[in-house]
Amino acid sequence: MRLKTFYNSKTKDSKNTVDKERAQFILRSFRPDGSDVEDCDFAEALAMAMENRELGEWLADERAFDASFAKALSSVELPEGLRQDILGCLAGERGDYPQAGDAQDADFIGALASVQTPPSLRMEILAAMERSTRVSPTRQKKWFFHRLAMPVAAAAGVAFAFFLFDQRKPAILATSGPLPLDVVQAGFLRTFESPLFSLDETRKQHEDIVAHLKSRNLPCPCCLPPGLANVKGIGCRELDIDGKSGTLICFDEGDNGVLHLLIFRRQDVCGDFPPREHPVFAQNGRWAAARWEDHNKVYILTGNTEIKKLSTIF
C-alpha cells in the first residue's frame, strides 16, 4: 500500500507520474464522509494530494462525486412497515414469542383451552338476546343477530372459560385501585354470562367503532396491530368491571374466526404488560392470546387460533 514500496526503482519523473496514478487508485477507496481519515494506509496518498495541486483538485472532484452518489443512495426510500416485517419475521423464525411467564397467564390460557362450547349454547344466547331486546327487532336487527351469532358464541365460549377458571380460583376482590387481571377476567365472565349481553354497536368500519367509543368516552385503540388494520369489525361494547370502564371489540377474520380485543386504561389494570412491539403470547390447545400495553392502555387479544397465526397480526 505504501507508495514508495512500489516504485523505488522508477526514475524521478516516471515515478511521480506513477505515484500520482497510484495515489488516485488508493484514494478511490477513501470514503467521502472522511471515515477513513484515521486509516494510516491513506496517509501517504492524502499527504501527496495536499502537496500536488493537480492531485488535490482531482481528489476534491472525486470526493464531491462520491458524496453526491452516497447522498443519493442514502435517499432510497424504505418500504413502509419493513422494520415491523423484520421483527415479525424474526419472531416467527425464532419461535421465541414471549411466552406467558406467570401462573396467571397459564391459568388464563389453560382456561381458554378447556372450553367446550355446549351444543345448545348458540341457540340459548340467541334466544337470550332476543328476549333482552325491548324493541322488536327490525329486519335489519334480525340480520344483525344472525351476523352476531358466531362472534357471540365464540365470545361466550371465552366467558365460559373464565367461569371454569374462576370456580377453581376465585377472583381476588377488586379494590378501588387498579384491577388485577383475574378480576378483569371475572368481570368479563359476568358480562358474557348475563342474558342481557349484547354489543352496543355493530360496525364493520374501525373508524365507526372508534367514533362510538369516543362518544362514550371509552378506551379506544389508539394504534391497532398492523394485521388488524384491514380486518373487518363486528362491533363493540362497554365492559364495566368493578367501576372501571373497558372496551370489547370483536373482529371477524373470516375463515379464521373471531378475534376479541379487550381494552382498558392502563391505570385501571395492574400487572405486567409489555409494549405492543413485544406482546406476550401464550398458547394452550387451540386458543392463543396476546397482551400488551400501548399509549397508556392495556390490550388483550384472544381467539381460537395459534400463536404463529396470531403473531402475524403484529
Binding site: S29, A72, L73, V76, P79, L87
Partner: protein, 182 residues
C-alpha cells in the same frame, strides 16, 4: 428495547439499500433483509465478536443474494445490460439531472454485479474497503480495483460517452458474467 431490536434499528436501512443495489427490486431487497436477520436469529449467537455483527449481516445478505441468483435463472441469464446502460446514459438528460435515489440505483444496476456490490457498500459508507473485502470474500486489492474501475464506469454512465464507454464497459461486464457463470 431488546438487543435484537437495537441491531435491526441500527442496520436494516443500510441493508435494504444494499439489497436494492444488488437486486434492484424492493420486494426482493426486503426479503433479503428479512432473511438476513432470520439467519442472524438462528446463528448470530455463534458470532463471538459482537462488534463484527454489522459485517456479518452484510456478508450474509450478499451471500443470500448470490444464493437467490443461483436459484433463479432470471438473474444468471441476465444479459449484459446495454439497454439499461443506454437509458441511464442519455447525454441530453444527464448533464442537468439531479442525482436521486432511483437514479443512483439505476446507475448501479447498469453495472455488472462484480462492480455493483463493492460500489454499493462503498457509497453506503458503512464499511471501509478492507471490510468490503471481507464481506465480499475477495482480496483487498481486488476491492480497490473494482472500486476504481466501477467508479470509472459510473462516471461514464453519467456523462455522454455513448460511443466509447460501452465498449470498455461491456468487456468488463462480459468478464464478470463469465466468472459468475463459471
Amino acid at each position: 428495547m431488546s438487543e435484537f431490536e437495537d441491531l435491526v434499528d441500527a442496520h436494516y436501512q443500510a441493508l435494504f439499500r444494499f439489497g436494492m443495489s444488488l437486486a434492484h427490486n424492493a420486494d426482493m431487497a426486503s426479503d433479503l433483509v428479512q432473511e438476513t436477520f432470520c439467519i442472524w436469529a438462528a446463528k448470530g449467537d455463534q458470532l463471538r465478536d459482537r462488534s463484527k455483527a454489522k459485517t456479518w449481516l452484510f456478508t450474509t445478505l450478499h451471500r443470500e443474494f448470490l444464493n437467490h441468483r443461483r436459484r433463479s435463472s432470471r438473474f444468471s441469464d441476465e444479459p449484459v445490460n446495454e439497454e439499461a446502460a443506454a437509458a441511464v446514459a442519455s447525454p441530453e438528460e444527464d448533464a442537468d439531472r439531479q442525482m436521486d435515489g432511483q437514479h443512483a440505483l439505476d446507475l448501479l444496476s447498469s453495472l455488472d454485479e462484480t462492480y455493483r456490490a463493492p460500489l454499493a457498500l462503498f457509497y453506503l459508507q458503512q464499511h471501509s474497503y478492507k471490510e468490503i473485502a471481507e464481506i465480499l470474500d475477495v482480496p483487498i486489492g481486488t476491492v480497490m480495483s473494482r472500486l476504481s474501475r466501477g467508479k470509472d464506469m459510473l462516471r461514464r454512465r453519467m456523462t455522454d460517452e455513448p460511443s466509447s464507454a460501452p465498449k470498455n464497459i461491456l468487456q468488463l461486464q462480459d468478464e464478470g458474467l463469465q466468472k459468475h457463470r463459471g
